[in-house]
Amino acid sequence: MTTTENTATTAPAKRSLFRSEAAQKLLAFGALIVIFIFFSLASPYFLTKDNVIGILLATAVNGVLALGVTFVIITAGIDLSVGTVMTLAAMTTAVSITVWGLPIPLGILVGLLTGMLAGAINGVVIARMKIPPFVATLGMMMIARGLALVIPAAIFGSVRPVYFNDHPIFGQIMMGSLVGKLLPSLPIPNAVLILFGAALVAAFLLAKTVFGRYTVAMGSNEEATRLSGINVANWKTLVYAVGGLFSGLAGVMIASRLSSAQPGLGAGYELDAIAAVVIGGTSLSGGEGTILGTLIGAFIISTLTNGLRILGVPQEWQFVITGVIVILAVYLDILRRRAR
């Protein structure tokens, strides 16, 4: 310990502030604040209680989807099926409650399991059959979309939405407000609580558990992970299954939000979810990413959509602007990495 020769010293470890991970979160968070300030100045309707609650609500479903996708992207994978799997889960929940008459908690469980099963199948196809994630989940995206149409067609003889008319309480899961009961001036819908609850669970999984550790390890260097004696195929399958579980949760949420399962809905949601993850600083090449980042990314997207709508920007242009933001966010991230 006394001789300097015998020590392998660390490389210069001075991190510029711009480069550190904390800075990345600050960057995304800063962007969110800037967007908020901009819209507040641009429109008097933006920074009102109702509107902010509206933004929170609008983030809920996409946010939960993005949480699941974060795990997948950290392994250097991708999941294109989350949107339609969400729809399928909404459909199985709706059918099991309104058609089979299952109690609501069991119906919710059916939805969650649907998502998880779809994810697990993705995982097996990717990890065991060695199909690239892009292709495997593209396939699952189509399969889930098809099933979400097939199920009502088989039951009702035609493709139509399934409504929760006899179960008004089901809608309350999302739109009711526990917070509002305690603090009547703050009627934050439960959907937002569910989002934050799910985010907490996800953050715990990623940072504190073996599952999270191996997720990062696989994304950082899959071969090294395998050589360390870790069963990469099993853990990867689990990652996709967990991603699917979050899609299942999103399915239950959207069914509750709309008090119905809409069979045609869902395509395109995966892109918003992936965008949120990427804006939040998760690297598509794997190995790094945070739940907080994803959460901020999801809020950036819904805040933009909301603000632009208030300013009267047509929807077509909203897409364009969101697209530019996604590219900018990733470019900033690349600059940050290069700064080392």
């Binding site: 010293t9 660390t10 073996v210 191996y214 992970t225 395998r226 050589l227």
Partner: protein, 516 residues
């Protein structure tokens, strides 16, 4: 001493187009260091990967502690008490040192799936201390030098407390001091009864550290000898299957006076400090120094791979504005990276594509279509000239043995026809036969009027090859020697000429790393 721990017999293994192992044999006793040597592509790594559960064997038996065993996965090998340090670095750059060392065996708390990070860091700290490594378990691997990463790999392998420890070229990236420390650890383990397999191309090391030596050639077992009694020449002839081997140092030519490349007052952070040097036409300029002296950093800066804070580079007397490797290549400068996996090769592409990669324009026909015939010819030429061991030009480079990958990189820059070639540790991980070919090649290139900068940590190599030697220490040039005046001692004196002030700086930087 003589209880046999492990026997591998009649092991066969084929890869598409390659018979990597053909009735290979290996025996290991408890409490011995057993060196496994052979030319590049002889099958050393493959044989040991079978033992470590990475590859499955096509045929043969493994008898471990008296019983025949199957080793289907790395986990199975770990459970048997067999661990391996791989030739390629196998760490996860985004994780911390502690997270890397104990990946797969993390201490848990309360619920079975919750990590105990505190315990993890404490265990790693204790492990590092037992190895006299001053490293912070919380540092990320991406922030370490290659040499330090190698020490971490070694720490990881040690933490298994295995009965069998396989080291595949562990010293390739280490400094003398680190090698000393490694040898101390190896001897300690040997005395505890651990069987150690030691793969290395540094033949001088073998006599120092090993008890027995097994030689392989072309996937076959050649023989096993006592390390103490066998002469080096005999080992070499067993390896290459022929006795002819010239090792007489080649006398450096007098280089002409034209200055091809000149660097003036280069500075970059605290890794390059006021570095100036000149490179003449037809000269081999050796860059000596300890690992981390800043030689690679200078090379990368000259090549435009890293930005400079200040300083100027002149090529053929004209100021060159090199901001990007592209600019360097345009000015006729080529760089052979020390970390060929990361910077030197497109691993997924085949041998031919890699060889012509840096000089594609040369192979374009009238319509901008690649002239396949010409690339093929060039590929063939270099495979032969450098004796690259590959079943075909269409083999993917990642399937070549480590040493043959290095030769492909050399072929690539030779094709690019550059005037100035910077070789960064060109013979790391290369067997004796190939080494002397590469030396021969460097001399030939110099005679043809190319100018060469050779960075090497092996003093005999520097002494043998260089016309002039520049020695670096801690980012500065601390001395310059002509071939005539250079000796190992003189180089080492310059290489360790630390500034007292610098040493203190170094210490405070280190504590800086602790708080990350």
């Amino acid at each position: 001493m003589s209880d046999i721990l492990l026997v591998m017999e009649e092991i066969d293994k084929s890869f598409p187009g390659v018979r990597a192992l053909d009735q290979a044999r290996f025996e290991l006793r408890a409490g011995e260091v057993h060196a496994l040597i052979g030319e590049n592509g002889a099958g050393k790594s493959t044989l040991m990967k079978i033992l470590a559960g990475v590859y499955s064997k096509d045929g043969g038996r493994i008898i471990y502690q008296g019983k025949e065993v199957e080793i289907p996965s790395p986990r199975a090998a770990q459970d048997l008490g067999i661990s391996m340090i791989h030739q390629e670095l196998n760490l996860m750059p985004h994780l911390t040192l502690a997270q890397n060392v104990f990946v797969g065996r993390e201490p848990r708390q309360g619920l079975r799936f919750v990590l105990d990070e505190k315990q993890l860091n404490a265990q790693t700290q204790a492990l590092f201390e037992s190895m006299r490594l001053r490293l912070n378990p919380r540092t990320k691997v991406a922030d370490l030098t290659v040499a330090t990463q190698q020490m971490v790999e070694i720490a990881k392998a040690l933490s298994f407390n295995s009965q069998v420890l396989i080291m595949d070229e562990p010293t390739a990236a280490l400094t003398e001091a680190e090698i000393e420390e490694l040898f101390r650890i190896i001897r300690e383990l040997r005395d505890k009864g651990v069987g150690i397999v030691y793969i290395s191309h540094r033949l001088e090391e073998l006599k120092q550290i090993s008890d027995r030596i097994t030689v392989m050639r072309d996937g076959r077992y050649v023989g096993t000898e006592d390390a103490a009694t066998i002469p080096i020449e005999r080992i070499i002839s067993m390896m290459v299957g022929r006795t002819i081997y010239e090792s007489a140092p080649e006398v450096p030519e007098e280089a002409s006076a034209t200055i091809v490349l000149e660097a003036r007052h280069l500075n970059r952070g605290h890794v390059i400090k006021d570095v100036s040097f000149q490179l003449k036409k037809g000269e081999i300029l050796g860059f000596a120094g300890l690992m981390g002296a800043g030689r690679t950093e200078v090379a990368r800066a000259v090549f435009g791979a890293d930005p400079l804070d200040s300083g100027e580079i002149y090529v053929h007397g004209k100021k060159a504005n090199i901001k990007h490797p592209r600019d360097a290549v345009r000015h006729g400068i080529g760089y052979l990276s020390e970390d060929r996996k990361r910077y030197g090769l497109a691993l997924g592409m085949d041998v031919e594509a890699n060889i012509v990669l840096a000089s594609f324009q040369k192979f374009l026909g009238k319509l901008g279509v690649v002239n396949k015939g010409k690339t093929h010819e060039t590929g063939e030429h270099y495979v032969e000239a450098l004796s690259i061991k590959t079943p075909s030009l269409q083999q993917r480079v990642k399937n070549l043995s480590g040493g043959n990958q290095q030769k492909v990189v050399i072929g690539k820059w030779l094709t690019a026809d550059t005037d100035v070639l910077i070789f960064d540790e060109p013979t790391r991980g290369i067997d004796v036969g190939a080494k002397s070919e590469i030396y021969h090649l460097l001399n030939q290139l110099a005679q043809q009027g190319k100018s060469i900068i050779m960075i090497s940590s092996e003093l005999p190599e520097i002494l043998r090859m260089s016309h002039r030697i520049v020695v670096m220490c801690e980012g500065r040039i601390t001395g310059e020697l002509s071939a005539a005046e250079a000796t190992q001692e003189r180089i080492m004196t310059y290489a360790t000429q630390r500034r007292v002030l610098m040493a203190e700086n170094g210490a405070s930087e280190h504590s800086g790393a602790q708080e990350v």
